[in-house]
């Protein structure tokens, strides 16, 4: 912890840490910035996909031929995937940190979040990039 206080000989200096960890401060800011973006992205997604469009009309043909045929929708979904899932993983990370007091268990959960979360992001990204080259007939 850096401290800029000039210490005179024999005088006690009260060091007040501003933020314990720079990464924590950046994550704090990220949760708020990503949260603002997600309000627009996720509520927009919910309104269009779950309320205006009926889930009963959903099919693989429709997704491939109509929705993901437009690059714009794949960019929209990619943004939601990247911003939304990292926001969610960080939230799970904080919940584990706050409520589980066994340090080993917390460490295991954090590694599960990093590796498991990374895999889910990779799988989602592969589908977004690869699907347009698939034919709509199985």
């Amino acid at each position: 912890m850096a401290s800029t206080a000039l210490q005179k000989e024999g005088e006690a200096v009260r060091r007040v840490p501003f933020m314990v960890n720079r990464a924590e401060a950046l994550w704090w800011a990220y949760m708020r910035l990503s949260g603002m973006a997600l309000i627009l992205l996720v509520l927009g997604h919910f309104a269009i996909q779950h309320i205006i469009n009926d889930v009963h009309n959903l099919s693989a043909e429709w997704v491939i031929e109509q929705r993901w045929a437009l690059a714009g929708w794949r960019i929209y979904d990619a943004l939601m995937l990247a911003i939304g899932y990292t926001h969610g993983l960080r939230g799970l990370w904080q919940v584990a940190q706050d409520y589980i007091h066994n340090k080993t268990v917390v460490l295991v959960i954090k590694w599960v979040l990093i590796i498991g979360g990374g895999l889910v992001l990779l799988i989602g990204a592969m589908a977004l990039v690869g699907t347009p080259w698939r034919t709509s007939t199985p």
Binding site: M36, A60, G88, L89, V95, Y99, I123, A127, T131
Partner: protein, 133 residues
Amino acid sequence: MNNLRLTLEQSIKYKGRTGQWAWIFHRVSGLGVALFLTIHILDTASIYFSRPVYEWFVGLYKTPLFGMGEIGLLACVIYHALNGLRVIGVDFWPQLTVHQRRMSYAVYVLFFLVFIPSGGIMLWRILQHMGGA
């Protein structure tokens, strides 16, 4: 598990009122959305990896039970979004702290204003498909 019980017990006993309940609802709704999001990414991605798996998921989402779950998910998303906005407001403009209780109540009012019509449309549609399917 002991921690979980302790957390639940103390959450009910602790008299933090509006702010504390907003905190609890924010965490619970966040956990719900994060859990569903994991499933939702994988089911959507299955369109690329395995068509039968994708069709199975879509069939599952068309059942009334999952339809109700979808309404619950909507509630979580709307609350988490509105309360998150309140948290951002208080964090970036600390002078808003004096209005924190009023802001918590405003979140509940706005929540119902948004959730009742949108959830109602989804419920109506589930009932229609149950009757006419």
